[in-house]
């Protein structure tokens, strides 16, 4: 099964034995390119026998827990030393965030707080200070966890990612990026380089909420993001996205369309939240039951819409 980096030759599935505990790291060859040119050269040299990493905060635990296994001699390509990928660029209409930008950089960036506050809100609730200091948003997306907390804010912001390969750079909407748990459209030889987010405009507002068993260092049971654009007293357009309720982070189209052209009064918000919960079919796992997830999803949408309205007044 190919992983999110398209690596399908070195990875095996969960080991057959029942060993619980910390596994040894496989023997690695460490590469830290400093320019995009060096990176692309390394990718073309090692191709599918390479693993691209940045913060390593999910890569190392994946090996330690036995979720991933690699044969000795794996070429690791660490993109965190590439300056071109470590910047948040403030363009006219969009924010262009490099794949190597850490969560702390995003959280402390006044530009992100002003132009995409919903992302700041989400990152604030992710992991811990120590993890945020090394983990990257590019990594959060490439791991393609259904519970990735940066995904719902990007989905409601209509963001896209830039993917580089030997042929050049292509842009893909975030909504088309994920294909399954731990899987994305990335193929061998491709690397996610940037995340582009349209800036929030006047009369627009967005909010993010998540529920876990505690507030810090926890995988979301359900996360939700909502973005609305108002036209006078009516909602012009809406975006609603969830994490942890489907094989990938998802948007709920019917609930979004329901809000369009309606006044955001209590009855409408409640109907919309109910529709959003009806559109998802979460699973029961060790973190929560499907029924609970639906309940929480409904409440989170309601609260997110009310957060948006409050921010607009």
């Amino acid at each position: 099964m190919p992983d999110t980096y398209g690596n399908n030759t070195m990875m095996t599935t969960r080991p057959a034995n029942n060993f619980i505990g910390s596994r040894a790291m496989p023997e690695l060859v460490y590469n830290a390119p400093e320019t995009m040119q060096d990176l692309m050269d390394l990718i073309s040299t090692h191709g599918p026998f390479a693993k691209i990493v940045a913060g390593c905060t999910d890569f190392i635990p994946s090996i330690r827990t036995g979720r991933w296994r690699f044969d000795p001699g794996l070429n690791l390509i660490d993109i965190s030393k590439i300056k071109a990928l470590n910047r948040i660029e403030n363009k006219e209409d969009i924010l262009k965030i490099g794949a190597g930008v850490t969560l702390t950089q995003i959280l402390t960036s006044p530009v992100v707080r002003a132009s995409c506050p919903v992302l700041t809100q989400a990152v604030e609730q992710m992991a811990s200070l120590q993890v945020r200091n090394t983990a990257t948003m590019g990594g959060n997306l490439c791991m393609a966890s259904p519970a990735a907390d940066t995904a719902p804010p990007l989905l409601v912001s209509d963001a896209w990612v830039l993917i580089q390969d030997a042929q050049g750079s292509t842009s893909v909407p975030v909504v088309d990026f994920f294909t399954g748990p731990g899987q994305s459209i990335l193929t061998p030889g491709q690397v996610l380089t940037h995340i582009c987010i349209p800036k929030i405009k006047a009369k627009e507002s967005a909010g993010f909420r998540k529920i876990g068993t505690r507030t810090a260092v926890i995988i979301s049971i359900v996360s939700a993001a909502v973005k609305i654009r108002m036209d006078g007293d009516l909602c012009e357009t809406a975006r609603i996205a969830f994490g942890s309720v489907a094989p990938t982070p998802v948007r709920v189209a019917a609930a979004e369309q329901f809000l369009a052209g309606k006044p955001l009064e209590k009855r409408v918000i409640e109907k919309c939240a109910g529709m959003a919960a009806d559109e998802i079919s979460p699973i029961t796992d060790l973190r929560a039951s499907a029924v609970y997830r639906k309940d929480v999803a409904e409440t989170l949408v309601k609260r997110c819409i009310m957060d948006c309205l409050e921010a607009l007044t």
Binding site: P26, C56, R64, D78, S128
Partner: protein, 162 residues
């Protein structure tokens, strides 16, 4: 194949021969003998292995040693000066922010960065708890730890820190 790794460890330029698959935690403990850096969950949940990497707290169990080439790393051994405990350490012992001591080195490094970055802003209970969210303590219940950090900041503002 061993590779040379040179970085600043506790204010001193240091070179170790490492395997590229070693984590910073393993290198600090095994090659560097900095045994205050505790190995525990190895998943980034507990914070017992927290060290400062370029003045920012990170979980050393989740950092590949090879990636700190040329960087600066500080462990709680680096707080001690001429055999004297740092005022931050003294605050933790005075205010009973320490019991079994397993989480303490990680707490100290995170608190050190927090207090250094805060400057003259007096740290509140909420700010301290948010900053220490990645450090688990199973003994003290955090109340005394938060108190220790507040007392430590007072000692810094009084100019007692080095």
């Amino acid at each position: 194949m061993k590779i040379p790794l040179t970085f600043v460890l506790n204010h001193q330029k240091t070179t170790f021969e490492i395997d590229p698959w070693q984590t910073l935690l393993e290198v600090l403990r095994n090659q560097g003998r900095k045994t205050s850096v505790h190995r525990s969950c190895e998943e980034g949940e507990c914070g017992a292995c927290t060290v400062l990497l370029n003045n920012k707290p990170v979980n050393s169990c989740l950092v590949l040693a090879a990636s700190v080439q040329g960087a600066s790393v500080m462990t709680s051994e680096g707080l001690v000066k001429n055999g004297r405990p740092h005022p931050l350490m003294k605050a933790f012992t005075d205010e009973l922010g320490i019991q079994c001591g397993f989480c303490t080195p990680g707490m100290l490094m995170n608190a050190y960065a927090l207090i250094q970055d805060a400057g003259d802003t007096v740290l509140t209970d909420a700010v301290i708890r948010k900053a220490l969210e990645g450090n688990l303590c199973r003994c003290t219940g955090y109340i005394n730890i938060v108190k220790s950090v507040m007392v430590a900041q007072k000692s810094k503002l009084a100019g007692e820190w080095w």
